[in-house]
Assembly symmetry: C2
Homo-oligomer: 476 residues x 2
């Protein structure tokens, strides 16, 4: 196989068509016959497992317990938290069981609160944070693979704290953790900030959001962290004794990251050849394509055994080889579609002259690498280069597609054109937030996030010193 870079398997011009083709061909996602439901195919689940492994380790190090709650809670319990209820009630799945009207969890604040009431008995038990990896259910009017499904998978964490200071400390930790996850591991084109009153989670005091700008110029709310105040504690009579044995309502928070992120990763990073995955998320970091029929079976087998050992135990890489039964040309194509990071081809010439034909998923330029130079450093450097090229692409994308209006006219044009843009504002001088937000909403746009800032900028409206950035765009 001489060259692969001219064979564009999937055109990305029609993003939706491209997306549907790629998620199927890469064995990531299959639509169920019942609209809105799906099969998480084996390769997609492995991508999700990568995310799970990275985050679970961090959660465990930080004493966040993993549990499983029941799938159901009572409808009457949902009705107890009025804001929460009015938010979720149109989209919940319900069933009758004995004398109960049960809700399939659309989120599990209520279920965790019931857990906390069973587990916690004093302020001394705080802070206490637990979470679960599980399935949740919401009736979606419009469906899109990973982005809007009636059943989807996520991690949701829930914490209990003695007071506001403690909950804020934890929220700062979580925001930093997810910031680093987006910035250093996922390399998605994202923004971070607060949600407005209007856009925040049902029942929360405040919501922090990580939003990804997808190639079709729509924002994907990818991860959220909520400060729930004492709202849920109060509504569910969850009280604990403090130091002086007086009962108080604990503060709670919650945070989540869902399989939506897989949709974001695929749409943002993928190209005409299929998936592209950052090295920490990649299911396989290296593939060895063996052209068996041109090789001496015995010799190549012992050579490969040696390399398998080296890649696993010394290089600590996730890798894949094609066995003798698997056609190397099919295997190479499949690994490209699946977004393996690095490619090593071994045919007769390579084996005899002791070199590897090497290329990366983002740069199909083939190189001859002397086998003695294919050491740990070589592979890890190339993974870093691949990550750097992914990150550079997304930084450029965000720079180009998240605009800043230079005049009120341009601001108004941005609204009309549904452009993604940001403005610097002095929140105090922006007197009526609601009127401002309503105007934006009237264009089918929304305030995606409001970030505080410390760079020296003027307010877009008042010429005062800006205190915040407001991000505006179209939501998924």
């Amino acid at each position: 196989m001489k060259s692969t870079n001219n064979k564009n398997l999937f055109s990305k011009e029609d993003l939706n068509k491209w997306y549907l083709e790629v998620i199927k061909k890469s064995e990531v996602f299959l639509h169920d016959d019942i609209k809105g439901f799906f099969y998480f195919d084996w390769y997609g689940l492995k991508i999700w497992e990568r995310i799970k492994i990275i985050l679970s380790d961090i959660f465990e190090e930080n004493q966040i317990r993993e549990i499983k709650t029941p799938l159901f809670f009572q409808k009457s319990e949902l009705e107890q938290e009025k804001n929460h209820f009015s938010g979720f009630s149109p989209e919940v799945f319900e069933l009758s069981y004995k004398n109960h009207q049960l809700i399939l969890r659309p989120t599990s604040e209520i279920l965790f609160l019931k857990y906390f009431k069973k587990k916690l008995f004093s302020y001394k038990d705080l802070p206490f944070i637990a979470g679960q990896w599980g399935n949740v259910f919401r009736k979606e009017k419009n469906n899109k693979a990973f982005l809007r499904n009636n059943e989807f998978f996520w991690y949701e964490g829930h914490g209990v704290f003695e007071n506001q200071t403690e909950v804020q400390k934890n929220i700062a930790f979580l925001n930093n953790l997810f910031y680093s996850f987006f910035n250093d591991i996922l390399f998605l084109p994202f923004i971070f900030g607060n949600k407005t009153e209007n856009e925040k989670f049902f029942g929360a005091l405040e919501t922090f959001t990580f939003e990804v700008l997808l190639p079709d110029n729509q924002w994907l709310q990818a991860t959220t962290v909520h400060n729930l105040g004492t709202n849920f504690s109060k509504n569910f009579s969850f009280k604990l004794p403090d130091k002086s044995n007086q009962f108080f309502y604990p503060w709670t928070n919650s945070f989540g990251i869902s399989t939506r992120i897989i949709g974001g990763l695929i749409m943002s990073h993928g190209d005409e050849n299929g998936l592209v995955l950052p090295s920490e998320i990649a299911v396989f970091q290296v593939c060895f394509v063996i052209y068996w029929k041109f090789l001496d079976e015995k010799k190549i087998k012992s050579f490969l055994d040696e390399w398998k050992y080296k890649l696993k135990h010394i290089f600590h890489l996730r890798f894949i080889f094609n066995s003798q039964k698997v056609d190397p040309f099919w295997f190479l194509k499949d690994c490209i579609i699946k977004g393996v990071c690095l490619f090593v081809e071994i045919g007769r010439k390579e084996f005899e002259e002791k070199f590897f034909t090497f290329f990366t998923r983002t740069n199909f330029k083939k190189e001859k690498i002397n086998i003695s130079n294919a050491n740990k450093n070589f592979f890890w450097t190339n993974l870093s280069l691949l990550n750097a090229s992914i990150k550079a692409k997304q930084d450029n994308f965000l720079k180009k597609n998240l605009k800043e209006p230079s005049s009120i006219d341009e601001f108004n044009n941005f609204l009309k054109d549904k452009t993604s843009f940001f403005i610097y504002v002095n929140l105090k001088s922006l007197k009526d937030h609601h009127v401002f937000e309503k105007k934006i909403n009237s264009f089918d746009l929304s305030i995606r996030a409001i970030s505080s800032m410390n760079v020296e900028k003027k307010c877009f409206f008042s010429q005062e010193k800006a205190t915040h950035i407001i991000y505006i765009g179209r939501a998924y």
Copy 2:
């Protein structure tokens, strides 16, 4: 703390009371307010994770794909497989969604069949085996923690094969795998064999079962492997082209292991001090109990750092230490309840004289171990000794409680007393199986399994050469 072996925290005399206390105190299981549902608490989930890690690795090595199916399928689909339907229909949870009547999966043969129809296009794609770790739903009349819950967790595998030979090859592999899992890792008192026509899985040609004899003399069906023949393929019109492009109905199988096994592990191995866990299942294999207040903080910290590194990277053990904030006496008790395998206590004397006070969970005899002798071999040998003592206990238990009648009178007494027992039979000479089975059932007992055998024994009834062992007892 001088001695721990005289303090029996939980009496096992009332097994049910003991069980409920232990699963709560060890943070394994919490009852939900809605009867029949439960919270899988963090320590219980970690035990399940151990089982998952061991089996997932084996499944992956054997090209068994992990996926996730939707939770629901259509009621009309359940009705398509008549035997399957009549078996499951009384116990399914249902809900209405748009114009669909949906079933919450009680098992997923139908869902996997739909997956196979999307993924497989030719005999060349076979064998193909996939599975999922997930939640399933069955209305249970009587509930018991882990053994009978309306929602529980399991692994279910589903395979597709070209013909009977291929499915049987896979079933032999699975039966060997689970046999080794029960015999070499779980050390449960178990039997293995076929289910009768009457007891097999709804819709299966044959069912193989691994059954555990619990301390209360009831049999727990812990793992099953089903040969589904072409029943499901036919009922769901699943056809593939063969070598000569003729369509055929593939053979399918399915197999499962559920969180019931955790109930079995706890009841079988646990003692008056709480959980006892075999070393491969143990969440923590070693705990270091540090009596901080008698120790020089700086010195002990650097000592512990060194040991943490050694235990993790050289000894490859799962371990836990109490931090300075955690009371060592409480920690020691908690680790005993949670079934940590090996205990190392470090106070002033130990630190100054360079020894560990050491004991195991099954033998509380305290020993002085010179630190220089506490090497990898020392820990792993002691884990093996602990496993051997667990296994010996269960072998004795089974020998004592699974009886063999020496006369027809004794056989009849066993039926009356609901004794667990076995008989050797020549299946051909046992003319009317059904009459025999009905008699057994009339005593509220059942045939738990029928195993083929190759030892030289006489049939209990006919004095001919025995071909099988029949196991009889009370089911959970």
